[in-house]
């Protein structure tokens, strides 16, 4: 009887405890998603998402996307001084020389040309006058007469294609675009690809197919005086003025350099400090405490503030970025290293000590072999993640690929370059990730395991 009582009471307790636990679980199960939902509702209001939807410039997005994979060629008549120029993206560096004409343009006079656009559209420029032939809808005619611009469009043309005023007529069609102002009459021809990526127009190798280039490189008559074809090709690509491959590659290199110098420098600074901050290697508690607070401070101040402070002293460039990474990561490494040092196995050290080793030998053979794999793997992991940070820091201080990217975005028209840089950044980070992964595996497992 007494036995039964004894078991019954705890059973009741247990049941009550289980019920309470279930009730709590149920509450959490409903409350947590609800809290997330409420928070999102708050964010929706706080960030003004509704207004944002109105503010979003979807036309900008369309320009960005179409510019990223296509290029336009401007055919321009200068209405003030006369003369016809054809230029890729309208840039001076991409202007076709006098005797060279892309295959969609037929020159019919000094100031006149016939331009074949896509989807069967054609355009004709004669002096300042423009005829745009829309298949199935007729011809739009624009002429500059004195100070006025006269537009003559058939009624079949949708009105939202044309925005016209006395000073400017802008025609945007699915096949191409044309603008007439008092200063110039201009037709844009759109085509797929990144034009002039390898060779610019002034290079003798422009417009050659890959097969032709290979055969030229192997055994062709030298196209550039005093230079082999291959070296001339390499130098033409390297010095390409449109895409600036030389500057871009240097910028990528600078970014990796920042990450490398910063990470390795931080590890070198943090290693001795970590010994001072570890309980089992330094008996002086106040010193330990001081070093730890230094680590916390350096980490807490954050890369952004360090970058700003350092860029004041050192100016823009890769060194500033490297030092900013160095400072921030000294804190992180110091914290991690000292924790790893406090967790070392003492058996190995005591074993070494029992053979009569000096303190230095104890560190060398008892401690270093234990911590090396851990440290190296953390350093490599940070190297990879710092490649990404170096891009951001470069954008703030002005150095490396981050600077090129911000510059290209600020101009708001070279989106093909922006996409080129983005691709390069992703490739760079992935390569660093891959290399550091391989090294990590080799260093930790001695290359036995893949």
């Amino acid at each position: 009887m007494a036995m039964l009582d004894a078991t019954e009471a705890p059973l009741d307790d247990l049941r009550r405890a289980a019920d309470a636990a279930f009730a709590r679980k149920r509450l959490i199960g409903f409350a947590a998603p609800l809290a997330v939902l409420v928070y999102f509702a708050y964010i929706f209001v706080a960030f003004n998402i509704l207004e944002l939807a109105e503010r979003a410039r979807m036309d900008n997005a369309a320009v960005l996307v179409s510019d990223a994979y296509s290029y336009k060629t401007h055919v321009t008549h200068n209405n003030r001084t006369g003369g016809l120029t054809i230029a890729v993206e309208g840039e001076k560096k991409g202007t076709y020389p006098e005797n060279m004409v892309p295959d969609f343009v037929t020159k019919t006079g000094d100031d006149a040309a016939q331009i074949t656009l896509s989807k069967g559209y054609t355009a004709q420029i004669d002096g300042s006058s423009l005829w745009l032939d829309v298949p199935g809808r007729g011809t739009i005619h624009v002429a500059v007469e004195g100070r006025n611009i006269i537009l003559d469009a058939p009624a079949t043309i949708p009105p939202n294609w044309i925005s016209a005023s006395k000073a400017r007529v802008d025609i945007t069609t699915p096949g191409g675009r044309a603008i007439v102002t008092r200063a110039r009459t201009e037709v844009f021809h759109y085509a797929f690809g990144w034009e002039l990526f390898w060779f610019t127009l002034d290079s003798p190798f422009y417009g050659k197919s890959l097969g032709e280039l290979v055969s030229l490189a192997m055994h062709g008559p030298p196209l550039v005086q005093g230079k082999g074809n291959l070296s001339a090709m390499v130098s033409d690509v390297w010095n390409n003025e449109m895409w600036r491959h030389k500057d871009v590659m240097w910028a990528i290199f600078e970014t990796i350099l920042m990450a490398f110098l910063g990470t390795m420098g931080a590890a070198l600074v943090a290693l001795p400090l970590a010994f001072i901050a570890a309980r089992n290697f330094n008996r002086l508690a106040p010193v330990r405490f001081a070093v730890r607070r230094v680590f916390d401070f350096v980490r807490g101040v954050d890369g952004l503030i360090w970058t700003i402070i350092l860029s004041r002293a050192f100016g823009p460039g890769p060194l500033t970025g490297a030092l900013a990474i160095l400072l921030t990561d000294t804190g992180s490494f110091g914290k991690m290293f000292s924790e790893a040092l406090e967790n070392v196995d003492n058996k190995q050290i005591e074993g070494i000590q029992s053979t009569g080793a000096t303190p230095l030998q104890r560190y060398r053979f008892g401690v270093i072999p234990q911590i090396t794999p851990v440290f190296l793997s953390q350093i490599l992991y940070y190297l990879e993640s710092n490649t990404r940070s170096a891009t951001v820091i470069g954008a703030i201080t002005g150095g490396g690929i981050g600077l090129l990217l911000t510059q290209a975005i600020i101009t708001q028209k070279d989106w093909e370059e922006v996409s080129y840089y983005i691709v390069l950044i992703i490739v760079m980070v992935m390569v660093m990730d891959w290399v550091s992964g391989i090294l990590r595996r080799r260093l930790i497992s001695g290359g036995n395991d893949t």
Partner: protein
Amino acid sequence: MADLSMGATQSIDDIRGAYLAMTRTKRLYGAIMLIVFVALMTSGFILADARNAGGFWNGIFHIFQFPGEVLAEAREKAANLPGLMVKFFPSLIETLNIAAASTLIGALFAIALSLLATRSLAKFPWLITPIRRVMDAMRAIPEIVIALVLIFILGGGPVAAMIAISFHTVGALGKLFSEVNENASLQPVEGLASVGASWTQRMWLGVLPQVAPNYVSYALLRFEINIRASAILGFVGSGGIGYDLKTAFSWGQGRYDEVAAIFLLLFLTIVFFDQVSAYYRNKLVGRV
């Protein structure tokens, strides 16, 4: 007998010789590695110094100049500091909101993707590799790239930063979450499958309760990282305390009390959330 001992001593000598040779090669490799490393560091430093606008030796003596100016001005106008910190507090809240919202959004997507990318749990096994590659790519894109492009489309503001950070968070957390999922016990999942639970029910009731503490712990760590990221993105032009810092900073002298106030706010916030998240992470992972 004599033969045997001869053989034994010889083999000991052999072993010692081989060992010493191995030690020598190891030492040689170590020395070569060290020389290569030192050469890389010095040449890298010299190159970085040469490509920098201001030189290292010139700058190192001016390193305390700017912090000194800021501190001097902050001390002069010390009475302003509390007021300024109140003034910038809303921006700080915005920065924290960006970090929190993007951590939440990122974590939600990461949970779904990581469950789909774990070998034993995936609903569509043929999707595992593509999803992993997508997560790799998301992790590889620096936040600033997406943020800058989005600022062009959406205009400046917190949403561009939020989307950019969420995007990166999905990749980073997705990888960590799927590692956690690999270690989850399959018994509850099989039990649920045997009573006819759907895939969603198996994940919701069988896997998530097991892995939730680890998820939360990783998400807290990400939150810490995202606070820093959101402050940096603000500096590039998408709202929050970073933007105020940039404005105050570009005003130059005379506004350094504002710079000091923002530095202080940012520092305190980062340290505070580091401590809080470290405490809860220890508690969560200790409980498992």
